[in-house]
Subunit: 277 residues, 2 copies
C-alpha cells in the first residue's frame, strides 16, 4: 500500500465547524512517515486554539517519534489543523526545515505546509517575514504573507481584512508562485483553511448522516456517528485519500479553495464540487 | 515547601556551551505548577535547535499535563531553553496567553517569557509584531522587538547585529519597560540568553569540577560529573533556586545579563558576580 508515486512530502489539513480531534486521520497519515511510505525526514502538526496555535514537530520519522505518540494519545480538539510529513527535496533534515511554518500577522498566527518543489524560486523579501530554514517552502510562505500584506495595506490587528479579501489576494499570489513548480499547500489563520492544488490534493466533507470510515494505511475503522452531533461538519484535505471506503474529491490543477466551518466556500466552483461528492 | 511569596509566574532558563537536556531542572520546576506551588494556569517550554525552536505548551497545570510528561520522558538537548509556569495576572487562561512567546526576526526565532506584572502598559505598536493574546507580557515582548529593530535599522537576516549591539539596545529597552512594574524576563534568539531582574531572578553556572545537586521541590539528586565532560558549562536561571545544596546567585534589582556558552558575559558586573559563586 505504498504511495511511491508521491515524491516529496504529504499534507493533511482539517477544518471544522466544531472543535474536533484529528486522531483517526493522523493515525493513517503518520503511517506514511516510514511504514506505508518513505516520508521519513521529519514531520509536524499545528493545532489552532483561538488565534494561537500549538505546533508539534520532530525530525524523526513519524512512526518512530515520541511526539507523534503524544498526538495519538492526547486528543487535542481544534477547528483548524495542518500536518505534514517530509521527504526532503531542498534543505537539510533539521528542525529549521520542518513544516508547518508559523508566523504572526495582524495579531494572529498563520500556519503553512507545502507539498512540492519550487525551482529557482528566490523572490525579493522585504524582511517583514524571513525564512529561518533553507527550504523553498518557507521562502514561499514568507513571500505569500509579504504579498498578502501589500494587497491589504490598510489592514491591522484592529481592522483585519475580510476572509473574502484574503481569499482573492491569496488566489493571485498562489497562481504567481505556482509558475515555479509544484505548489500544493494548506494555509490557515485559525479562521479558515486555504488549500491550493498544483498536482495532488484531495478533500472530503463529512457531515450528517455520518458513516463508518476505514483507513487505507492501517486496519482501523471508526463510526463517526458515535462521535458527532448532527450539526457537526468536518472537511479533511490530504495529498492522497486516507480512507478506502469514502469518496474523496480530487482537486483540479490550479484550484484554490477556502474552507470555513467544514465547508468549501470559495474556489473555482466549490459548491458544485462539494455536491458532487 | 511552597514559595507563596512568589506571586504571578515562574521562569526557568538555560544557556550552555554544549547541547544539554533540562530534565533535572524541569523536574523540580514542574512541581511548582500545582504541587509545591500554585502556578496552575498553564505552562510552556521552548528549546532552540539552530535558529528554530520547538515550543511545547499546555493550559493544564504542569504536574497534570501529558505534554510535560513528554518533556520529562524525551530528553531534548539544546543550547538555549526557556520555560514558564503561569499564575494569571492579566489575560484569560488559554493557549494565546501561554508563555513563552515566539516571533521571527532577522531570520531566526526569538523566545520570551516574563515573570511580573506591568501596570497601564500600552505602548504604541507599529504592527511589525503584534500580540496574539491579551497579556501585558506579550505586549512587552512585541514592543521590545519593535524597539530593537528600530535600534538596529540597517540590520537584516544577511547582516544581523552583533550580540553586543543587541545587548546594549535591549538593556535600554528593558530599563524603559521596567518603569511600568515588575519585569523579570528571559529572552533568547538561539545565540545567547538575556535575563533581566526586576525583583527575583537567580542563576547558577555549573562547570568542571561538576558536583552533586539535589532538587528543592522533589527528592531527586543527580551527579552532574556522570553526565558531562570537563569542557561543558551550563548556566541555569530561575525565579527561585531549584536546588538546596548549591549556591545560586541572586541578580540585583535592575540587573540585565547576557549569557553565552553557559557564561554570564554582559551585565552590570557579571564576571565579578560569577566568580563570587
Amino acid at each position: 500500500m505504498a504511495f511511491s508515486f508521491f515524491n516529496m512530502c504529504q499534507l493533511l489539513g482539517m477544518n471544522c465547524n466544531t472543535p474536533t480531534d484529528i486522531i483517526f486521520s493522523f493515525e493513517g497519515f503518520a503511517q506514511r512517515g516510514g511504514l506505508t511510505d518513505h516520508h521519513t525526514d521529519g514531520w509536524g502538526i499545528a493545532f489552532f486554539e483561538g488565534r494561537a496555535c500549538r505546533l508539534l514537530m520532530d525530525c524523526q520519522p513519524s512512526i518512530l517519534s515520541p511526539v507523534a505518540d503524544l498526538v495519538r494519545a492526547y486528543p487535542i480538539k481544534s477547528l483548524n489543523v495542518i500536518a505534514h510529513i517530509r521527504k526532503a527535496t531542498q534543505g537539510e533534515v533539521n528542525l529549521e526545515n520542518c513544516h508547518p511554518f508559523v508566523r504572526e500577522m495582524w495579531g494572529r498566527q498563520w500556519v503553512f505546509a507545502h507539498n512540492g518543489n519550487l525551482v529557482d524560486f528566490h523572490p525579493e523579501l522585504d524582511g517583514r517575514f524571513h525564512p529561518v530554514g533553507t527550504t523553498d517552502s518557507e521562502r514561499a510562505f514568507c513571500y505569500m504573507l509579504q504579498k498578502l500584506r501589500e494587497a491589504c495595506p490598510n489592514s491591522s490587528a484592529a481592522q483585519p481584512p475580510s476572509l473574502e479579501d484574503i481569499h482573492a489576494a491569496l488566489s493571485a499570489i498562489a497562481k504567481d508562485i505556482a509558475r515555479f513548480g509544484t505548489f500544493n499547500f494548506c494555509l490557515s489563520n485559525g479562521q479558515a483553511m486555504w488549500a491550493h492544488c498544483s498536482t495532488n490534493l484531495y478533500y472530503i466533507v463529512r457531515e450528517h448522516p455520518f458513516a463508518h470510515a476505514h483507513l487505507l494505511d492501517k486496519d482501523v475503522a471508526i463510526n463517526f456517528a458515535e462521535h458527532t452531533t448532527p450539526q457537526d461538519r468536518v472537511a479533511v484535505m490530504a495529498t492522497a485519500p486516507l480512507t478506502d471506503n469514502e469518496v474523496w474529491q480530487k482537486m483540479l490543477v490550479g484550484e484554490f479553495v477556502m474552507f470555513k466551518d467544514g465547508c468549501p466556500c470559495g474556489g473555482l466552483n466549490p459548491i458544485q464540487h462539494y455536491k458532487r461528492v
